[in-house]
């Protein structure tokens, strides 16, 4: 493994997972250290989204060992993992469209005490741009796709995550909106949270992530520094074997 650190935020050991009869992870083995930022790449159906869903507890582990933030969590409920500091921004928007921006932030920030919640909410509102802050009582479903994604990322960061899982954060966004989202993720990385970004575009991850893992049919087939674009491309096109 490239860039191995002493403490692991996420460890998959021969993990299998499936949706009904359809297998999505077929013995995935990979680990991500605390504070590390890793990109997950692969073709459609390779198991990228399933990796994030398994790590956040949405999809149970069928067999194998999964450890999140130092704790074995094969069948731990998503809300327990969220309270441990795992934040998952799923593919799409990741907001409740029927709730206002502020209500979405309130739900996400959590916090053990009222003062902690207030502090995090203030931070989240401060992280929004002026336009979104002025529309804090607008329903999230009425915002544009890029604005919704920005609110979702801001809410995720306000939850002070220890492990942030982002599934195609810039999917469907304009280049400018995508850059804004990635800039926000960069801030999360700088705060020391472990970052897992599922992406299909290599140019996006090169500056954000230090490592890249390529998945194929539910297993990791390549693991290298993200600057190794040639090797990653070979792995994605299938011209390179398991590393």
């Amino acid at each position: 493994m490239a860039g191995a650190l002493s403490v692991s935020a996420l460890v998959f050991q021969d993990v299998h997972a499936q949706y009904g009869p359809y297998k999505a992870l077929n013995g995935l083995t990979a680990s991500i250290a605390e504070g590390e930022s890793v990109a997950i790449l692969g073709r459609n159906g390779a198991g990228k989204s399933t990796l994030a869903r398994v790590a956040s507890g949405l999809v149970p582990v069928a067999s194998g060992h999964l450890s999140v933030l130092g704790r074995s969590v094969a069948r731990t409920a998503p809300h327990v993992l969220a309270r441990m500091g795992v934040v998952h921004l799923p593919e799409g928007v990741g907001l409740f469209s029927g709730l206002t921006i502020e209500e979405n932030l309130v739900l996400r920030v959590g916090g053990a005490s009222r003062s902690a919640r207030r502090r995090r909410l203030a931070m989240a509102l401060g992280g929004l741009n002026d336009e979104l802050r002025s529309r804090r009582r607008t329903k999230a479903g009425l915002l544009s796709g890029g604005q919704q994604r920005l609110v979702a990322v801001t809410a995720a960061l306000a939850a002070e995550p220890r492990l942030l899982l982002c599934d195609e954060p810039a999917l469907g966004l304009s280049p400018v909106a995508g850059d804004e989202v990635y800039a926000a993720l960069g801030r999360a990385r700088d705060l020391g949270c472990a970052l897992v970004v599922i992406e299909t575009r290599l140019d996006r991850i090169e500056h954000l992530c230090s490592r890249a893992i390529v998945l194929e049919k539910g297993v990791a087939v390549y693991d290298a520094t993200s600057s190794d674009q040639g090797g990653i491309l070979d792995a994605l096109t299938g011209s390179r074997g398991v590393s």
Binding site: Y19, Y22, P90, E103
Partner: protein
């Protein structure tokens, strides 16, 4: 002014009960995505418990009310734990079917356990409910009315305060959109939903007790139909979203109902028509014109893709040798069954089998409309009634040949289907179920009781055909009619099978899956909707005609609306996507009912009714629906296909092995 004020004063307590139920319906729908048709059944069950507690030694009404308010939330939590939490969040059909199953089964269980209607219970806080406590402008104010109004205000204030909290209110509103997304926010969505069910069931219990003590009648489940319909109308007025409007709507509808009852003279020809149908007509107008209701089911859970895909159909898993065997053996097998029935089965069982075949024809209409087009219709039994009454009137009064009259009955039912299809063009999902419930209740209350339709309670005789194509049935009455009904059933099954497999079936499946996608692929959605409604209503009408012929008479009690939801639940849980499912459901209902007629009528002082027991038995199937939404027949076929595949091929079918590994 004094009279008007008197009517208003008398109506407000009723409006309060409607208001509570409407708020409960909206709250449950918003928090859990379940439109709780069982709300009235829960209210009735709670009232029976309240009444039984008082008649069995609990001296104080308030003490009995407290016990009910403790039991009800526990029951709500159990409903969620045992039933609703097991349904995939995006499966709205399964949620509706489960609620309908509960609507059917709960009153039956309560009535079986408490056979005689309990007496009218006293109000929780006034031992003499019907002695005026105050007089306002000369009009009396009774203790029960004070209880209803004060109880409603207190409950609504408590609910508003609860829903404004960050800890409960916000998660409840978020849970309906996506429980999984809520989990990712660190909130235990299971408990949020369970809590919503607990509040909802407690509201039903309070509304039931207050409604009953105000009405002053014995505790009868039929009294709760009006409570449900008016409350649905109030909830619809609020677009199933806005709790304050639902509460206000309940009170206003209670007032409207009271004023109409007060001002329209009971001797007027309008009274029997207008008074019972007012809430249905109001609901009908709302369903057609309320913009929010039209887009009620447009929201899709963004996390729906996490749920496992539906299981592979059994037909895709069968080894070729099984298909060949079925093709070769089906007609000889059917012949053996029919001749076996003619030669060996006693007359009462032949009658039951004929009823099963007639019911199967009606159920095939559900296969078409629900299994194929994905529309939940609660009016199929009403269409069957229209076919039956048309057949009976044409044969009895116009002396038409009975089979020609049956065809005419099917056509008239088809026209009624067109009437249902026109408003359904603007609606999908739950609003269609509500619309068809409205139509079924209107048919039951307005159409079927009229003398020119049903000849009152005495009914209309329906002859059986004496001969067809020169074959004389008169000497072998029951067997001959059995063969004829089975032939018609097979013909209808063949038509439905061809529709399921053909271009029309594919188009309807596409409309069900994605109306926009189907439309962009060139499917004419309006034409398809009208076609499927008319065809399914015609099939139901034909089935109703044969059902009436088997009964040999048809009266206003033959097609009560109540059986519409029962039959829908039975067909969907046994299998609404295949013709085998509909035929199995029809036969199972008739045969189990016939078998249970022979059980003792009373066990340990509890009265047993064969139809009630059949309904309970078959409605229990609804509770398998959460796990097997494909239906019991399809599930059994898949299991059988796996076993046969292994036995015949000595190898694993790829789909079989994939499922095993799951």
């Amino acid at each position: 002014m004094g009279v008007f004020f008197g009517y208003v004063l008398a109506s407000i307590p009723y409006g309060c009960a409607f208001s509570l139920v409407a708020v409960g319906l909206v709250l449950t729908y918003r928090a859990t995505g379940v439109f709780n048709f069982a709300f009235a059944a829960e209210a009735y069950a709670a009232t029976v418990v309240y009444s039984e507690l008082i008649s069995h030694g609990v001296q104080r009404g308030w003490a009995a009310a407290i016990v009910v308010c403790v039991i009800a939330p526990v029951f709500g939590a159990l409903l969620d734990f045992g039933l609703f939490s097991r349904i995939a969040p995006g499966n709205r059909t399964a949620k509706t079917i489960m609620a309908l199953g509960l609507t059917v089964i709960l009153p039956q269980i309560v009535e079986t356990a408490v056979p005689s209607n309990p007496p009218v219970p006293p109000a929780p806080f006034f031992s003499t409910s019907f002695i005026p406590v105050w007089r306002i402008g000369g009009d009396p104010v009774f203790g029960s009315a004070i209880c209803e109004v004060a109880g409603t205000i207190l409950v609504l204030i408590g609910l508003v305060l609860l829903l404004r909290t960050r800890r409960f209110g916000l998660p409840i509103r978020a849970a309906v959109e996506s429980p999984k997304l809520l989990e990712l926010s660190g909130v235990d969505a299971r408990w949020v939903l369970r809590f919503a069910w607990m509040i909802s069931t407690a509201l039903a219990a309070v509304a039931g007790v207050l409604y009953q003590v105000g009405s002053g009648a014995t505790v009868d489940p039929q009294n709760y139909d009006l409570l449900l319909v008016v409350s649905i109308a109030a909830a619809a007025l609020a677009g199933l979203r806005n709790l304050p409007i639902a509460a206000l709507g309940g009170v206003l509808l209670g007032l409207a109902e009271g004023l109409v009852q007060g001002y329209v003279p009971s001797s007027s020809i309008w009274y029997p028509a207008l008074v019972p149908s007012l809430p249905f007509l109001f609901l009908l107008v709302l369903l057609i014109f309320h913009p929010t209701l039209r887009h009620l089911e447009d929201t899709i859970d963004p996390m729906a893709s996490i749920e496992p895909p539906p299981p592979v159909p059994a037909v895709a898993m069968r080894p070729p040798i099984v298909d060949r065997t079925i093709r070769r053996m089906r007609w000889p097998f059917l012949g053996v069954v029919v001749f076996g029935v003619i030669l060996f089965v006693p007359a009462d069982w032949t009658e039951a089998l004929t009823e099963g075949a007639a019911l199967s024809i009606v159920f095939l209409s559900i296969t078409l409309l629900t299994g194929l087009a994905g529309q939940l219709s609660l009016a199929q039994w009403m269409f069957a009634g229209i076919g039956a009454f048309t057949t009976a009137q044409l044969a009895e009064n116009r002396h038409w040949p009975i089979l020609l009259a049956a065809l005419a009955g099917a056509l008239v039912a088809g026209v009624a289907g067109l009437v249902a299809a026109l408003p359904a063009l603007r609606l999908r999902g739950l609003p269609v179920a509500l619309l068809t419930l409205c139509l079924a209740l209107l048919g039951d209350d307005l159409l079927f009781p009229t003398s020119w339709v049903s000849n009152g309670t005495s009914g209309v005789p329906v002859p059986r055909p004496s001969s067809i194509f020169g074959i004389d049935f008169s000497s072998v009455d029951s067997e001959g009619f059995f063969v004829l009904t089975v032939v018609v059933m097979i013909a209808v099954a063949g038509i439905v099978h061809l529709l399921l497999r053909g271009t029309t079936g594919r188009a309807l499946t596409a409309v069900h899956a994605s109306p926009i996608g189907a439309s962009s692929s060139g499917v004419q959605i309006r034409r398809m909707t009208i076609l499927v409604f008319m065809l399914s209503a015609s099939i139901a009408g034909l089935g109703g005609a044969f059902y009436a012929m088997n009964q040999q008479t048809v009266s206003q009690d033959s097609f009560v609306y109540y059986f519409g939801p029962i039959y829908l639940v039975v067909v969907v849980t046994i299998g609404a996507t295949t013709v085998e499912g509909a035929i199995t459901a029809g036969m199972a209902f008739a045969l189990i009912n016939n078998a249970l007629m022979n059980v003792p009528q009373s066990v340990g002082g509890t009265q047993l009714h064969s139809t009630a027991l059949t309904v309970i038995l078959l409605s229990l199937g609804a509770f398998t629906y959460a796990k097997h939404p494909e239906g019991i027949v399809e599930y059994a076929k898949r299991r059988l296909a796996k076993t046969v595949f292994r036995a015949v091929e000595h190898n694993d079918h790829p789909l079989v092995s994939a499922e095993d590994s799951a």
